[in-house]
């Protein structure tokens, strides 16, 4: 319990810093990391369009659309953004999931390494099915 609080003290309350995310590299990286979500959303929309085209028999039309230069440009950025998302997200995973073996926690790099290996394997499997499948 805190004593003696009747007088509201005169203090200075600094105003909001609108450009806070430009104040340090850390903040800027954070904001970039969060903004990858825009591209995650776009990637999903793109996939939905692809699926709709495949199921509607309009794959050629879709391929033409996807080949437009601005579309390619967007998707290159999307690739970079989703890859950045993947790296940061998989690196941060050990923070929430602390694994303990025999009382001592597994080092972060081990979990991160595991995550990244998983990423590679999943990517390879997906590529395999998309490109060749079993057929």
């Amino acid at each position: 319990m805190k004593a003696g609080e009747e007088v509201p003290p005169a203090v200075h309350r600094p105003g909001r810093d609108r450009l806070w995310f430009t104040r340090s590299r850390g903040y800027a990286v954070f904001v970039l990391r969060e903004l990858t979500s825009v591209f995650v959303a776009w990637a999903v929309v793109f996939l939905l369009m692809l699926a709709a085209a495949v199921l509607g028999g309009r794959l050629a039309e879709f391929a033409a659309l996807a080949a437009r230069p601005w579309m390619v440009a967007i998707n290159v950025v999307t690739l970079v953004a989703t890859a950045f998302h993947a790296v940061t997200f998989l690196n941060l995973a050990p923070k929430a999931t602390v694994v303990r073996l025999d009382g001592y926690r597994l080092p972060a790099w081990l979990i991160q390494g595991g995550n990244h290996s998983l990423w590679l394997v999943v990517s390879a499997v997906v590529a395999f099915f998309v490109l060749r499948g079993f057929g």
């Binding site: 319990m1 805190k2 004593a3 003696g4 007088v7 003290p9 005169a10």
Partner: protein
């Protein structure tokens, strides 16, 4: 009206607060502290806290180590009470959550410590005080009724007719000056290392409580006993804990020689041996440094002569596991790594054995006024405190003072006399005057530095009558000059200049008592070494110094017999079995 007002939110103050709350929840208890409690200096203690726990250890052995370590100037009844209650206090702290370091089987671990014959120093790595204080502070949060005055600075005790009635304090945040009425006051304001220039003590350790009590007529005890710790970092005075030596560190002179063997402290062994060599008591180790310096065997640096603490042979693993904070401090503040480099160290003012004279329950001669912790002198530390005795001391005697004050407050429920209010009003006016602008005088810092250097010269590791007498004059002069110090800040909120000035005022009086007591004690004992009286003189001085403030404001020193129960004075033997 507060029942128990505790001045100080360090280990002693917080322990007292819990004791009051547990004794009688109906009592109103408050903690006033000039810094947030968890910033108190207890937070800096590193090495550990001693209490008998091992099967091969006994209370009597802890008593003997403490008493011989204190060169027979400890009150033995106090030591017995302390040693008997220390284990329960440390266990209680464990029950409150303190993260003590552990053995493999889950019991708390103990380490050796200077001057202790058995391993009985509990530790939480090398941040013992930090964990102890935070555990205590967090535990007090459980008691919603403990009222906290955080960042309030007490400037005066209200005392009338030999009875305390409260305090006057400045609320730092607003600058408001308040009289707080209380039935009892416990002083737990810590030590006064800042009267010296080179100290391990934090900026807040200005001995305010000692000065508060002394000014109202309570005597101070054994003020000449100032502990130098042998291993401080040369520029900052940051402490390298004794645990570094307990873990096996060596002290080397400039030739790489373990010089302690030349000073009757035993023969070097590769692994640490209890009560021997580097694990001797602090007074003897610091004195050995001075002799090495005189022989030209120390290393010169821009910050004065040093010797080296060598931890390299312990290896990185052990350093990380047992004394990681030592490594962190060396890296951050000295730019070296103890795993590969020698650490430069020199003796540094560390602890005040003396303080406000109290009985076993912390009661001072002023009714209702209690003191506990480093600010008090019960006395269990005698002429030289053993490392790791003071953390348990603040717990044991903090609790005792809390219980005794609660008792007193329950029994004395008479209303406050009008004088108390008038005293408060006078003090308020004095403080308002003190923060008026005054451009003429000397700077507070300048006066403080003069005082510190005077004290270092006169009341350092070795002392001489002539120098002490001269210092007494200088201090009297400084006291006058401080009345006209330069004041640049006339504002209310967070006026730290006003606080510095009040602290300086107190420190000057304390410095005077240190010099007066040192001058009066014409013998050498423990941390008090007179080059003009080199022998211990039990016939005259097996007694405490008791210093009162005379009506003219000067210190007047008397002697008070030491309580001896079972351990007659003997020779202090280290490193010889």
């Amino acid at each position: 009206m507060i029942d128990v007002l505790i001045v100080g939110g360090g280990g002693a103050g917080l322990r007292a607060a819990v004791a009051v709350a547990e004794t009688d929840p109906a009592l109103k208890v408050a903690v006033v502290s000039k810094v947030y409690p968890m910033r108190s200096h207890t937070v800096s203690a590193e090495g550990g806290a001693a209490a008998v726990i091992g099967l091969d250890d006994t209370l009597d052995e802890h008593c003997y180590d403490t008493i011989s370590g204190g060169d027979w100037l400890c009150d033995q009844d106090a030591v017995e009470a302390f040693v008997a209650e220390a284990p329960a206090e440390l266990i209680r702290l464990e029950h409150w959550g303190c993260p003590w370091s552990r053995e493999r089987d889950g019991r708390v671990a103990v380490r050796p410590f200077g001057g202790m014959k058995k391993m009985r120093t509990w530790y939480a790595a090398d941040k013992t005080g930090f964990h102890l204080l935070h555990t205590l502070f967090q535990t007090t949060l459980k008691y919603q009724d403990i009222l906290r005055y955080d960042e309030w600075f007490v400037t005066k005790l209200l005392v009338d007719d030999g009875r305390v009635h409260g305090v006057v304090a400045v609320e730092l945040r607003t600058g408001r000056i308040e009289t707080v009425h209380a039935r009892t006051v416990i002083l737990a304001t810590g030590g006064c290392g800042r009267v010296f220039p080179f100290t391990t003590n934090a900026a807040i350790k200005t001995g305010d409580g000692m000065a508060l009590a002394y000014r109202e007529g309570a005597p101070l005890k054994d003020m000449e006993f100032v502990q130098y710790h042998p291993t401080g970092l040369p520029f900052t005075g940051i402490l390298i804990t004794e645990a570094a030596r307990a873990e096996g560190g060596w002290l080397l002179n400039k030739d790489g020689y373990r010089y302690l063997q030349d000073y009757d402290l035993g023969t070097p062994t590769p692994t640490p041996k209890l009560r021997s060599m580097e694990l001797g008591p602090r007074d003897r180790l610091s004195q050995a440094f001075v002799h090495e310096q005189r022989k030209g065997r120390t290393v010169d640096t821009p910050h004065g002569p040093v010797v080296h603490l060598d931890l390299r042979h312990l290896g990185e693993g052990r350093i990380e596991a047992r004394i990681p904070f030592v490594r962190e401090l060396c890296r951050s503040y000295q730019n070296l790594d103890p795993a590969t480099d020698l650490i430069p160290v020199r003796p540094v003012v560390h602890y005040m054995m003396g303080g406000v004279h109290t009985d076993l329950n912390g009661a001072t001669p002023i009714a209702g006024l209690f003191a506990a912790g480093e600010t008090a002198c019960v006395s269990i530390n005698g002429a030289n405190r053993l490392g790791s005795n003071s953390l348990p001391e603040i717990l044991v005697f903090g609790r005792r003072a809390g219980i005794a004050a609660a008792e007193f407050a329950r029994e004395h429920r008479e209303p406050q006399p009008a004088v108390a209010g008038a005293q408060g009003e006078d003090e308020r006016r004095r403080l308002l005057r003190a923060r008026e602008r005054h451009e003429g005088g000397e700077r507070i810092a300048g006066l403080r530095e003069r005082m510190q250097h005077t004290l270092e010269e006169a009341a350092g590791i070795y002392r001489t009558g002539g120098v002490l007498a001269k210092a007494a004059d200088t201090l009297a002069d400084l006291r006058e000059r401080a009345e006209y110090a330069r004041v640049e800040d006339d504002s209310g909120p967070f006026n730290t200049e006003l606080i510095s000035l009040q602290e300086l005022r107190g420190m000057l009086e304390i410095a005077q008592t240190i010099v007066a007591c040192a001058l009066n004690r014409q013998e050498s004992r423990g941390a008090h070494q007179r080059t003009d009286h080199t022998a211990r003189d039990d016939a005259t001085y097996l007694a405490h110094s008791l210093v009162h403030r005379a009506p003219d404001g000067t210190p007047s020193v008397g002697l008070l017999p030491v309580t001896i129960t079972r351990w007659p004075p003997g020779e202090r033997v280290y490193g010889r079995d």
